[in-house]
Every structure is written in C-alpha cells, then in structure tokens.
Point group: C2
Chain length 169, copies 2
C-alpha cells in the first residue's frame, strides 16, 4: 500500500482492507501506528536488498557474477517494471524527511557495493563510481517511465542496456 499509494495516500482503511486486519489488530502489532508500519516496511526492504543484492555484490568471488546477480534480482524484485520502488517514492515526497536514514542508506549502500564490484570487475576507479550512479539512476528513472507509459517493457529494455554498460567485453 505504501508503494502504490505513497506514505500519505496509504490510509489505514486501505491497509485494513489489504491485510484483512482491523485497526485494533494493526495497532496491537504496530503500536507506533502508520509511522512504525512504514519504518518496519523500510527495514524489511533493506534486509531483502542487503541479502539478495548488496551482499552478493560485495562477496562474490567473481565480481561480474555478482553484478549479473544484481540485475537478475532487481528485475525480479520490481516485477520486470510492473512494480515501483517504495524507497524511491518516499525519496521524492515529504516522507523523505521522516525516514531520512532509511532512504539515504538504501541508495548509498547500493551505490557503494555496486561501485566496488564494478572496480573489481575491471572498471577504472572513477569510471566505476560514475557508472554505479548511472545504473542506480537508470533503474529508478526507468521505473518512473515504465509506470508513466504503463508499459513494463520500458523497464526491461533499460535494465538490459544498463547491464551491457556494466559488462567489460
């Protein structure tokens, strides 16, 4: 609900309908209310990316394989462009100020892990840093364009091109 409606747009009524839980249950599980729900969702997303994307980027013996894994996991996570990025949605809105650390940390750690992997894969230091930024921006922007055009293929195409740029022939 936060992903598709934004923080302000995701009302408790929508959340109760989507979860099948009444407000009483929600406040029992999340005493901090809506803010805690969002915080817990952000934490869960962070854990998923840490495990499925950042760690493989950092730890893969074969850097190229780690990068390839990132593209595959990213495509799966965003449902090939049918899903948008909750962290990106929060970043653009007023919610960024309430969840600064989570929003900032997500992109920062992704960028750092990717830049290091690109370096290990053979890109020059400066080029790797720039390329990592381009790839992250390319992914976020492609999600915007895909949803604007209501055409997930925009995302798939962009992801394929970014993967090609990351690969050293």
């Amino acid at each position: 609900m936060f992903r598709t409606h934004g923080y302000e747009g995701a009302s408790l009524t929508l959340i109760t309908a989507a979860t099948g839980l009444g407000k009483g249950s929600l406040y029992h599980l999340f005493p901090g209310g809506k803010a805690q729900m969002a915080r817990d969702v952000l934490t869960e997303i962070d854990r998923w990316f840490e495990r499925e994307v950042f760690a493989p980027l950092r730890d893969s013996a074969d850097a190229q394989a780690g990068i390839a894994h990132m593209f595959k996991a990213t495509d799966a996570y965003f449902r090939s462009g049918r899903r948008v990025c909750l962290v990106g949605v929060f970043a653009l809105g007023a919610a960024r100020d309430e969840f600064t650390d989570a929003v900032q940390g997500y992109f920062e750690r992704w960028r750092e892990a990717l830049a290091a992997a690109l370096r290990r894969a053979g890109h020059a230091r400066g080029a790797a840093a720039e390329l990592a930024e381009d790839i992250l921006a390319g992914i976020q922007g492609a999600l915007v364009l895909a949803r604007a055009a209501n055409d997930p293929k925009v995302f798939s195409r962009a992801l394929a091109r970014l993967k090609r740029r990351a690969t050293i022939p």
Copy 2:
C-alpha cells in the same frame, strides 16, 4: 505543493497557506476543486516544456544546439537538482490513473522530440531511440537519487554525463 507533497499529500490547508487564498477563493478560481488545480498545473508544466524544451528540440536548425538547450533548460527547471519532477511524482503514485493522459503525454513527447533531434545530430536511428530513453530515465532517476541523498550535485553530475553521451565527438 503537488510537487513536494504529492497529489494526496497536498491538502487544501497546505495550498491555502502557500497561496494566501482562502478556500472560497480557491473554489472560485478552480470550480473543479483539487483535481482541477492539479490538471491546470499539469497543463502549465506541459506548456512550459513544449515551449522551452520540446519545440527547440524539434525546430532547431542545429540539432546539437537544440539538445544543448534542452540540458540547460532542464537544469534550470529542476533547480540543479533541488526540485523534483511533479510529473514523475504523479507517475509513481495512484494519481497516475486520474491524470493518465497528461503524465503519459509529457514523457512521450519529450522522448520523441529528443530521439528525433539525436537522429538529426548524427546518431543512428536505433541508437537515438535508446539514448533518448536513457536520458529521460537518467534525469528522472537522478532527481530521485539527489533528493534521497539530499545532495543536488548528484543531479548535476548525472546531467553532465548524459549530455556527454548525447554529444557526437
């Protein structure tokens, strides 16, 4: 207000405070209420980009000059990364469905005008189409990253790299 708070987040209270107009005045000027306000803002944005970006891309005798003008106007419009894109914000949220035409049209006409200019500037047909998509996604994504990091320079850097990719040496 729509840009910084999203469609749902931009309440009439925020809008009255920002404009200095009471609700009565707002509904006198915009009988269609909040939806009309958003529609009129989208129309205004569309006019601005049509005049300052799309038309120069299409009509410039020197295609390279038209593209350079686009990057300059884009940097100015987004305040070098201190502003985000209202159309992008709407695209990611539920507002897209209420303002489909405006959101879709904005990116589509930008992409088409840019692809044509890139082709006239010397890029091969297929490469120009791909590059146009990359540049639009790069801009939207850089706005996300810049706001997430609370660092406008992320946007300026990305824009400079995109401009370099658009230029044929």
